[in-house]
């Protein structure tokens, strides 16, 4: 999948996809992603096995993440260059949202 298609498919991004990509800037496995995201969001986002498995499958199929090794029956994934670009585009969009809602709260 090329960047243009990936941007069309993933932007705006769901919170699940956003946090999985954000988490995989450091290589991690499914269970580790769940723990990291839970810590990042003060337990607000607790992703289940089905959600993580399906999301990882989709991101891997589209080339946004890639498996790099396996440790203790756990597949370790990392974000790809294209995944990083898509994540940055989404972060820019969120920053714009933030700017435009300043003063609202």
């Amino acid at each position: 999948m090329d960047l243009q298609k990936a941007v069309k498919r993933y932007i705006p991004m769901s919170e699940t996809m956003f946090y999985i990509l954000l988490s995989l800037r450091e290589p991690n496995h499914g269970y580790g992603i769940m723990q990291q995201v839970k810590a990042l969001t003060n337990d607000r986002v607790a992703m289940g096995a089905g959600t993580i498995y399906q999301s990882i499958g989709k991101l891997e199929g589209d080339g946004l993440i890639v498996p790099i090794k396996e440790e203790d029956r756990k597949k370790i994934y990392a974000i790809t260059d294209m995944g990083t670009l898509v994540l940055r585009i989404e972060a820019e969009r969120i920053r714009e949202l933030y700017r435009n809602t300043e003063g609202l709260l």
């Binding site: 269970y31 992703m47 399906q54």
Partner: protein, 179 residues
């Protein structure tokens, strides 16, 4: 009092994944435990009576078996109960908040869509069977005796009835895809 009971055609009665999960959980709460699920459990399942338990059940559909799929669920603390064709059944004992495997709407709908696709494939196959039988009946009409004609009619009626049931199931899953 008998300490086992047989349940017939449960997978054909609770066709929406969330409904099937709730049925399993209700049985556990009543003390009827599922020991193991196998290929024929959709037809007949044996439950054993014991103390009531609070379990969360998850029914998932995987067309191809991935080793890391099983590993991932187990790492999250789910117990593999078994599989019926491509339908995987998981459970987890809990207190407090009911645990979820699909924690966002997008992935709940993707799970349900896979069930709908599996039913649709079978619906197409049974519809083609009905069509083939109708064509065969018409083409061989002059050459078959009454017994053979009755066999054709019975085959057509059974296939059509099952295709109609699959149509109903497919529509029901789609109507409940957000569940």
């Amino acid at each position: 009092m008998k300490n086992t009971k047989r349940v017939w055609l449960s997978a054909f009665r609770y066709v929406v994944p969330a409904d099937y999960e709730e049925w399993f959980e209700e049985q556990e709460a009543l003390g009827w435990h599922v020991e193991k699920i196998g290929q024929w459990s959709s037809i007949m399942m044996t439950l054993k009576k014991d103390k009531p338990r609070q379990y969360r059940y998850v029914v998932d559909m995987q067309f191809s078996h991935h080793k890391d799929y099983i590993d991932m669920y187990e790492q999250f603390g789910w117990e593999f109960v078994g599989q019926m064709a491509s339908a995987y059944v998981w459970r987890k004992e809990y207190t407090g908040e009911r645990p979820e495997s699909f924690t966002d709407q997008e992935n709940i709908e993707r799970r349900n869509r896979r069930f709908a696709i599996a039913v649709l494939i079978n619906l197409v196959l049974f519809s083609l069977t009905v069509l083939a039988l109708v064509i065969g009946f018409i083409v061989t009409f002059g050459e078959t005796d009454m017994g053979q004609k009755l066999q054709f009619i019975l085959g057509m009626a059974l296939s059509a009835a099952f295709a109609a049931y699959l149509w109903y199931v497919w529509r029901k899953i789609l109507r409940n895809r957000s569940k």
